[in-house]
Amino acid sequence: MADDKGKDREKGLDSALRRKLLMGLAGLPALAMMPRGAFAAAPTSAVNTTGLAVTDTEVTVGILHSATGTMAISETGSIQAEKLAIAQINEMGGVLGRKIKIIQEDGASDWPTFAEKAKKLLVNDHCAAVMGCWTSASRKAALPVFEQYNGLLYYPTFYEGLEQSKNVIYTGQEATQQILASLDWVAKEKGAKSFFMVGSDYIWPRTSNKIARKHIENVLKGTVAGEEYFPLGHTQFNSVINKIKLKKPDVIFADVVGGSNVAFYKQLKAAGIDLSKQTLLTISVTEDEIDGIGGDNIAGAYSCMKYFQSLKNPNNEKFVAAFKKMWGDKTVIGDVTQAAYLGPFLWKMAVEKAGSFDVDKVVEASPGIEFKEAPEGYVKIHPNHHLWSKTRVAKALPNGQFEVVYESPELIEPNPFPKGYQ
């Protein structure tokens, strides 16, 4: 790393020449981001020693999600939440007295584009932090960029774990946080012994199911009656539904995503599986997904998340009202949307604790940061860069909302590399 920087400096001269040449070129965007810090007054030079885009009045933060492509469905909520949080922070006076300026880039549901745009946000725009990525694939693609250029990413999605980076704060839950408590609940509450797992065929469902299987077999002493995966976008589930009928598991454990999700629940309902009698536990359905599935089709299923829109607490009521005011009455708020909302606040608090925008100092200040106004209640950053959070189980209602039926009594410690579950 140090070696790289040395070389960068050596190349400083001709890159300045290149930039001048660039200035003459119309049509190439994003070329005006000169290191403005050079002209700043003393306080800025104190809070920004690494050439970030910080002026006396402004600090630049990037937002990097898919606004187009197949993932736009999921990522829109995150963009909205991050913009809301930033607007609220600016209203409160900004960060270290500086208003946040947003540069939004479109990852276009294409992983190299995420890497590319991440690099642009860090190298060209000198963003002090980036809120972004949604799928694991996009994060995996962008991660080396954040590590190489020492950027800071706030990643909102609940995900499979098995990762920990100096340059990322994970504001969603990792798999054990999300799954274990809810499995305990379903075993205790419903007396569940046998489970049937259905998932989309990619890393998150497979890892989550692996963790769930270990827990079911080793801790709950139950059985896994079946484990099935379908290609992303698959829409025919009748065969697996028959298999479920044959095996008669106590619990269907589902992590199907995207368009398949909609097909799965519609066909489940059509096949006469009554979710008020057959327990179904899902880790992939938030309020956002229910919009497409239809509340009627999934009513009665249990979802485990750390956040539901219907949570009863003053923080959340304020948050929901503000969100609807900004983005319209019809919008729904899912778990990831709330997690995305946390990012800007966690960053602001870490910056203020560090007294600096420098990534190294912010990272150093981050562990232990508490956010008491979080809509989900209370979160705290763990030294492993994930959040301490509660896990909740809620029942889907026909109107598309959830009714929380269980909440873990304590904050659950994030454990991205769980021993005994790998």
Partner: protein
């Protein structure tokens, strides 16, 4: 074969012939120099490291487009599965880089150190056999081309021997792209699944993530591309190139002139696969990862459009087309993300309906005549080597 009827006009022929079939006509040399100048001199001077790396990434697609000119433009074989070969080449390279990044030292926190991290997460405790060859760099460089070409050979021999052609071939290649994507995503223990093979660091000890490495790789990429253009030009100019054109028009006539048509199609398809594979490997090196999203149908069709925009019969056009579409994509999606798909869709339709010969056609029909009218006396030499006729079916 001996010719029993010796002609009385042997001397005559030498006088009459003007068609001496040079490797490249003057105008083509100019085009080549122009392209090489832009890629190797102008762009590196003009762009910062970030933008240059982007152009480098685009140029890896140009390899695919180049192959499609031969395979689709000349031989009339439309493949909607070029992503398969791009991906296979890229994966071969990524496997080597991943093994190098997964040294025992780097992976000591894993339960099985020394294997790629995603294998460890999937409870795989030993490196699978088909990963073994990728410990060796020379072998990897060989396999980067050999694996995709062998795959292309199997597919194309099976299909062309049975005279599967045209639309059927296109649809079957598309299905193959779909199958391979599902397989790679599903076998995540061996392939890295949907995330692909990520976090690649060094090539034989040389850190490919640093800016200087990217700078050098850009030139390697550009050089390889120009090498491939020259190779394609050689093929195009050889009798084989003319046979491909002939085959596209009147397959039966070629067959009944004593040629095994399938063999020539297999060659064109394998050549296109080889180019795509080189592009894929360079992509992995410059971008730093490889994932199944470059194998599937959507990227494969997009690569066809690069060729169509450039002009499906023009080698240089393929490169320009690739650069243009990608540049448009990047700048459009930066400024009007919502409009981008409209633009891309309209581009597809316009290229088919209005500019079937793409950029190369526009250049030939509108720009070149004007340019060379001014430069007196050059006009005859400027006539293009490419046929003006209707595009391939």
């Amino acid at each position: 074969m001996t010719n029993p009827k010796t002609s009385p006009m042997q001397s005559l022929s030498k006088a009459v012939t003007v068609n001496d079939n040079p490797f490249m006509k003057p105008i083509e040399w100019v085009s080549l120099l122009l392209l090489a100048g832009v890629i190797l001199v102008v762009l590196p001077l003009m762009l910062d490291g970030f933008r240059l790396n982007l152009v480098g990434k685009y140029l890896t697609y140009a390899f695919v487009a180049l192959g499609l000119v031969i395979c689709w433009g000349y031989a009339g074989i439309l493949s909607l599965g070029q992503g398969v070969f791009f991906g296979l080449g890229g994966y071969c390279m990524a496997m080597y880089l991943k093994l190098e990044a997964s040294s025992v030292e780097n992976t000591k926190i894993q339960s099985t150190p020394g294997i790629p991290d995603f294998m460890d997460w999937n409870q795989i405790t030993a490196l699978p056999w088909f990963w073994q060859p990728f410990h060796s760099l020379p072998l990897t460089l060989l396999l980067v081309v050999a694996v995709p070409v062998a795959f292309a050979f199997i597919i194309s021999v099976a299909m062309f021997k049975r005279r599967v052609g045209g639309t059927y071939f296109a649809i079957i290649t598309q299905a193959i792209a779909a199958i391979l994507t599902i397989l790679i995503v599903g076998q995540q223990g061996y392939t890295g699944g949907i995330n692909g093979i990520t976090d690649l660091r060094t090539l034989h000890g040389w850190d490919i993530r640093q800016d200087s490495a990217k700078f050098i790789l850009y030139f390697v990429n550009g050089g390889l591309l120009i090498g491939c253009i020259l190779m394609a030009q050689y093929v195009k100019k050889s009798k084989l190139g003319r046979i491909l054109v002939a085959m596209r028009e009147k397959e039966d006539r070629v067959r009944f002139s004593g040629y095994s048509v399938a063999g020539f199609k297999v060659f064109a398809f394998c050549l296109a696969a080889a180019f795509a594979a080189i592009g894929g490997a360079m992509f992995t090196l410059q971008v730093g990862f490889m994932s199944p999203s470059f194998v599937g149908i959507v990227p494969s069709v997009e690569m066809v459009i690069y060729t169509a925009v450039g002009g499906r019969l023009s080698l240089f056009g393929a490169v320009w087309g690739t650069l243009l579409v990608n540049w448009a994509k990047t700048s459009f999606s930066e400024s009007f993300p919502d409009m981008w798909l409209f633009g891309l869709g309209a581009l597809f339709i316009a290229v088919v309906l209005i500019f079937p010969n793409g950029l190369a056609g526009i250049w030939r029909e509108h720009i070149e005549p004007r340019l060379f009218r001014k430069a007196k006396g050059l006009a005859p030499a400027a006539s293009p080597a490419l046929p003006h006729g209707t595009p391939a079916e």
